[in-house]
């Protein structure tokens, strides 16, 4: 039985036996995290939208454990790096936001598989709206207009380093909490809590999706038909869902080229070097967080575009705000690195099933020689900048020289497993986030990143979700 569309928005629990799970809508979105909620609220009001959330309003152990799996590569926490309830991983994010550099979108001959089919300019129109959603105050990340060069935190002009602005969500946006009233009151929008997408059914033409199979942990199920389907379940789960849809395509949906789940990228977080200041006053008062109206931002040190190409480095961001460099101790250089796209760094299905009958995953997160070169290159660029200014010296830590992967940290930034490309042989989704080989299946979130740059992904994935909303609006219009 199919019921009509709710005239007003509502949030309902799919486990409740009174709730009909067989439904129909213009759009079905799987995942109520940052991307899913942003997308749903853009589309709702104009179209009927069903937003599926695996969890409830609060975290529950049995739902969270659906994320459990194996990590066969570098040390990784599949359970601790994401959250499975309304608002998704925004429920524990730190609110750090930055903009990818222009070069992050470009193909670089020293970075295999680099290059997006879109440019930084394609996301620019969505920056202010993204900043509004994420409570950043402004979508301006232009260092020079925000901070005069004489007030930069590093006296590095003329070196191979530059500075980038990092904005902070204030108050830190918990998407479920903040947007719950909107989710409850927007016409045409239905949020189904505790509703897990477990399969997608294709029309016999093999391209058009017709329905989504939904299941709850208390044994209920239903089939939702829609015009368009969007996966917004996170950088690991999006790949898992596509790979798990094997009832009609043995290799999974969108996986004709075997690329789904490959190219898993993180931002290796490393305290890779120590800085020893020659001049104890060189950073006095310059490293503090700064204010832009009622919002905070900080400056991070980054390589110039020229230095990246000359040294064939990977991008990075060094945290230099709130550093105490007046002490006698060396200054730890905490860095977030870009990871090079690597097809062998991947998410795969295992033979172990979760409580819903979906295969659990094996995450094999791997770095390449280029990634280790990138870390050393970072140390070298910072060391050269300090040396050129007689500010101090840099020493890379022993484990970096020994390439000890056990010391690599992660930022809970899951990227690349359904990467964007113009060529189906090079990616899983096209420039409009449509899954290759399908006509109405889309992906939202950082899994579409072709490269990850060296900045927290939330700002970019939200802008991409808004861009996708605009594209989908055009399709249904």
């Amino acid at each position: 039985m199919r019921i009509g569309r709710e005239p007003a928005g509502m949030i309902i629990d799919a486990r409740n036996s009174a709730v009909e799970l067989t439904r129909d809508a213009d759009f079905v979105i799987a995942g109520a995290g940052v991307a899913g909620i942003s997308l749903a609220l853009e589309l709702a009001g104009k179209y009927s939208v069903i937003l599926l959330e695996s969890g409830g309003i609060e975290p529950e152990q049995d739902t969270q454990s659906l994320y459990d799996g194996k990590s066969s590569g570098l040390n990784y926490s599949l359970l601790g790096s994401r959250l499975r309830f309304l608002g998704g991983t925004s429920n524990h994010w730190g609110g750090w936001c930055g903009k990818l550099d222009d070069i992050d979108f470009e193909a670089r001959d020293w970075v295999p598989h680099s290059g997006w089919p879109i440019t930084s300019a394609d996301l620019e129109p969505f920056h202010q709206r993204t900043a509004d959603i994420l409570d950043l105050g402004s979508g301006n990340f232009d260092t020079d207009t925000m901070v005069p060069p004489e007030n930069h935190a590093f006296r590095i002009s003329g070196t191979r380093l530059t500075q980038r602005v990092m904005r902070f969500s204030n108050p830190v946006t918990r998407m479920g909490e903040k947007y719950r009233p909107a989710l409850e009151n927007t016409a045409g929008l239905t949020v189904l809590l505790n509703a897990n997408l477990v399969d997608l059914k294709l029309h016999e033409d093999g391209k058009k999706l017709e329905s989504a199979l939904v299941r709850t942990l208390n044994g209920r199920s239903g089939q939702i038909t829609a015009k368009h389907f969007i996966l917004a379940s996170g950088g690991i789960e999006n790949a898992r869902l596509l790979l798990s849809c094997r009832s009609q395509m043995t290799q999974g949906l969108g996986n004709e080229k075997g690329l789904v789940g490959r190219f898993f990228m993180e931002h290796p977080h490393v305290t890779a070097a120590e800085m020893f200041a020659l001049d104890e006053n060189w950073c006095q008062g310059q490293m503090a967080l700064r204010r832009d109206d009622d919002h905070w931002f900080g400056l991070m040190v980054a390589p110039s575009k020229k230095s990246l190409s000359e040294q064939r480095c990977l991008n990075f961001r060094g945290h230099i705000f709130n550093i105490e460099c007046q002490s006698d101790d060396p200054i730890e250089l905490r860095v977030m690195m870009e990871q090079a796209p690597n097809p062998d760094s991947r998410v795969r299905l295992t033979s172990t099933l979760d409580a819903l009958g979906l295969p659990r995953i094996d995450l094999n997160w791997q770095l390449t020689a280029l990634d280790w070169h990138g870390i050393q290159c970072m140390g070298r660029l910072v060391g050269e900048a300090l040396g050129a200014r007689s500010l101090g010296r840099v020493k890379l830590r022993d484990w970096v020289m020994e390439q000890d992967g056990r010391r690599i940290g992660f930022g809970s930034h899951h990227m690349g497993t359904t990467r964007m490309a113009d060529d189906p042989a090079a990616g899983v989704v096209d420039r409009n986030c449509r899954v290759f080989g399908t006509s109405n299946l889309f992906v939202a979130g950082s899994s579409v990143f072709a490269t990850g740059g060296a900045i927290n992904p939330t700002f970019t994935l939200t802008a991409l979700a808004l861009r996708l909303a605009e594209h989908l609006t055009g399709l249904v219009r």
Binding site: G158, T159, R160, F276, R380, G387, A388, K395, L396, M401
Partner: protein, 130 residues
């Protein structure tokens, strides 16, 4: 490691530590270790550590060949002679080191990012008796 100390104590003290080996027609002869200390600002034990390491990266003779042409400085087997006063020589070495950093003429020695001049002086300091 006491890097902070090496940087704080280095420049002022190293001048006192310099041991001119004698006078020749071109000026005073300075040994490699003093030159390394002046240029890097590092303490002797760290110079030794880096010099030993740099010596494993390439032979002292190769480091010797990398030494730049500097005004008023003549490289010899024992070190360098200079027509400059010590302060001026230190400025010359420091300036060349900064120039090398700025032009990416650097090398990682045992994790330390050094100018190639610094690395060469450390390597040569440990390849010969002071």
């Amino acid at each position: 490691m006491e890097r902070r100390e090496f940087l704080k104590n280095s420049i002022g003290c190293s001048l006192l530590l310099a041991l001119p080996l004698g006078c020749q027609q071109t000026g005073t002869l300075y040994d490699w270790r003093s030159l390394a200390q002046w240029t890097t600002g590092m303490k002797p034990d760290l110079i030794k550590q880096l010099g030993d390491y740099a010596g494993t990266m390439q032979a002292p003779g190769q480091w010797r060949e990398e030494l730049p042409v500097l005004p008023n400085v003549r490289w010899l087997d024992e070190g360098a002679t200079s027509a400059d006063e010590p302060e001026a020589l230190m400025q010359t070495l420091s300036s060349e080191s900064r120039r090398q950093f700025a032009s990416s003429h650097s090398v990682i020695v045992d994790g330390w990012v050094l100018s190639r001049l610094e690395a060469a002086l450390c390597a040569l300091a440990e390849s010969r008796p002071a």
